[in-house]
């Protein structure tokens, strides 16, 4: 049977992608941040999954305002890279995992999670920056990917409860798949940041650190945190952190914390990153 072996959380700051693409990762500004991912790249070499379910949000890159799905799933063979206004990132095309993805989308819909089904999808920095951070700059990505875009841009976003429950449903669905697959679930975005208005540049390190603690130890309470608290305490874009709850839900009741990293700033953002594994 397929099994979920780990959860990864990481910020997905676009400037981080640009730093990778322009070979600026050794510069003084960027070096400490990339150093925080060295452990993870090594860990990932030893623990490369067959499939990564990557929970992310599109940033007006593929989805306009014509259609705004709350939860969607890419079930195609491959996903091209978006041009976000600067030209597409020069990274390999992302290969899909259609067999598992169709099983997952169908299972989730039957479990009352009304996923939007995407046979065509181009992916943006929300998905590719985490891949660059975990895999570096290979000619071909070492894992297949099931993109799971979530609306975190337009209020109302899905509730924290809904996100944690979706993660739990993903866990059940993966375990019911008849195929011997090592699957990881990645929750991306955050941590505290605000990139608009007079309050732009907001960072809240104590709140971010508490969020990471609670994600590990107390997700059943963390799920009830209202959108308003994310927006006030972690900035208007900090609400992306609800996507980490989906990852956490997919890992089961108890987890081991393999790794944690926190760094300010990357561009306008507090970078947070964790590797968690289910406790058997």
């Amino acid at each position: 049977m397929a099994r979920i072996t780990a959860g990864i959380s990481t910020s997905h700051v676009p400037a981080v992608g640009a730093a990778v693409d322009m070979q600026r990762t050794e510069e003084a500004y960027w070096k400490p941040m990339f150093a925080g991912y060295e452990f993870s790249k090594k860990w990932m070499k030893d623990n490369t999954p067959d499939v990564a379910i990557i929970i992310y949000n599109d940033h007006a890159s593929y989805f306009g305002m014509e259609i705004m799905p709350t939860f969607a799933m890419g079930i195609g063979d491959r996903f091209e890279i978006c041009d976000e206004g600067y030209g597409a990132r020069p990274v390999p095309v992302v290969e899909g995992a259609p067999e598992l993805a169709t099983h997952l989308a169908a299972s989730l819909i039957l479990d009352d999670f009304d996923m939007t089904v995407l046979n065509v999808l181009e992916v943006d920095h929300g998905l590719t920056v985490p891949m660059s951070l975990m895999f570096g700059t290979p000619d071909k990505w070492p894992t297949k990917v099931i993109p799971l875009p979530v609306n975190v841009v337009m209020y109302p976003q899905p509730s924290g409860e809904r996100c944690l429950s979706l993660g739990k449903a993903i866990r059940r669905a993966v375990e019911q798949f008849d195929g011997d697959l090592n699957v990881q679930v990645w929750g991306t975005g955050g941590m505290s940041h605000q990139i608009q208005g007079a309050r732009a540049g907001l960072i809240n390190e104590p709140w971010d650190r508490k969020f990471m603690d609670d994600l590990v130890n107390d997700p059943e309470n963390l799920q009830y945190k209202p959108h308003l608290e994310y927006m006030v305490e972690a900035g208007s874009e900090g609400v992306e952190l609800i996507m980490w709850l989906i990852m956490r839900g997919a890992l089961g009741e108890k987890v081991d914390e393999v790794y944690r990293f926190y760094h300010v700033p990357a561009s306008n953002t507090a970078v947070g990153h964790m590797i968690l594994t289910p406790k058997e």
Binding site: A15, C82, E84, G85, M154, A198, V232, N268
Partner: protein, 132 residues
């Protein structure tokens, strides 16, 4: 559950992009989406007014784009991820564009970020700040 759009209005210096704002800003944001294509970026930067006139945007929205008044664009229903296509067309970074919405210049803003970012203390509530 009845939606509460009012709950966000006490956050200082912040415009929450609600489903209502999305309706108001639909064409402004659609215009921004068109700048994902290099040919459109060239055409827009070559003749901004003419390009904007091809979209069903309000005159205020068009003027805010011409003025690169990002706060005004937010007020009129724009969302920063959409608006980023405008500044990306000109090769500007998020930090460069975002800083224009604050009371700092870009150097001061970058220095604030390097110093750990804007502290949330004093920035939680308009009422607390005497702005409401």
């Amino acid at each position: 559950m009845k939606p509460d759009f009012e709950q966000f209005k006490d956050i200082p210096g912040t415009t929450i992009f609600t489903i209502e704002k999305a309706r108001q800003g639909f064409w402004l944001n659609q215009f921004c989406m068109s700048l994902r294509e290099e040919a459109n970026r060239k055409r827009f930067l070559g003749a901004e007014r003419e390009y904007l006139d091809e979209w069903q945007m309000s005159e205020q929205q068009k003027q805010a784009v011409l003025d690169r008044d990002f706060q005004k664009m937010l007020d009129l229903g724009g969302n920063v991820y959409f608006l980023s296509k405008i500044f990306a067309s000109e090769g500007l970074s998020y930090v460069q564009a975002v800083s224009t919405m604050t009371d700092m210049n870009v150097e001061q803003y970058q220095a604030m970020m390097l110093g750990g970012g804007r502290n949330v203390e004093g920035w939680r509530s308009k009422k607390e700040r005497g702005e409401a």
